[in-house]
Symmetry: C2
Subunit: 110 residues, 2 copies
């Protein structure tokens, strides 16, 4: 079953549903940033930031690079771009809309 489209897209939206993580994405979208610099812009604990960065990394939205004791983070533009195009298809009202596939599959089952 190709529900992966909704599951995969949903997972990324879940990650982006937290306002703090959205702000982090915003911060690292312009330039690479280390955790301690990101932390300056937020009102959270260091352990909480570390947790958010782990979540952002695990879903692929953010990459990390280690330099001495610093960990530098940057946004993965390709993953973001892919998410946008998936969402475009889901919300499309034309023939490239995913729903046509669902409806077809549903018809086959009945």
């Amino acid at each position: 079953m190709e529900n992966n489209i909704y599951i995969d897209t949903g997972k990324l939206f879940k990650v982006l549903s937290d306002p703090v993580r959205l702000q982090i994405v915003d911060l690292v979208s312009c330039k690479e940033m280390c955790a301690c610099e990101i932390l300056e812009y937020l009102s959270i604990t260091q352990s909480t930031l570390s947790h958010h960065m782990k979540v952002l990394k695990e879903c692929g939205l953010v990459s990390s690079r280690k330099d001495a004791t610093w960990m530098y983070y940057s946004l993965n533009a390709d993953v973001v771009g892919n998410l946008k195009s998936q969402f475009d298809k889901i919300t499309s009202d034309t023939s490239d809309c995913f729903c046509y596939t669902i409806k077809k599959e549903c018809k086959n089952i009945k």
Copy 2:
């Protein structure tokens, strides 16, 4: 404070983080659909669907129209479009990126 950008966008992403709701959005993106028709494509209870439709309506992503005993749902393309443009700004690496505002505000505070 203008964290509303992240809070508002986060709320919509939260709604879209559920795979079932993503599929519903997909279904109603092409044409208006009543709840009973939507239900045919899903593997959930009627009460669960009703709950999801309430969530989708409350955040503005979906509109409803009542006709006799049927409730017809459709996607609000403007809300979707606005969400996309907000996300574009958040993930932008150019000067229209929101993060510049945050950084400026942060500088002022220090």
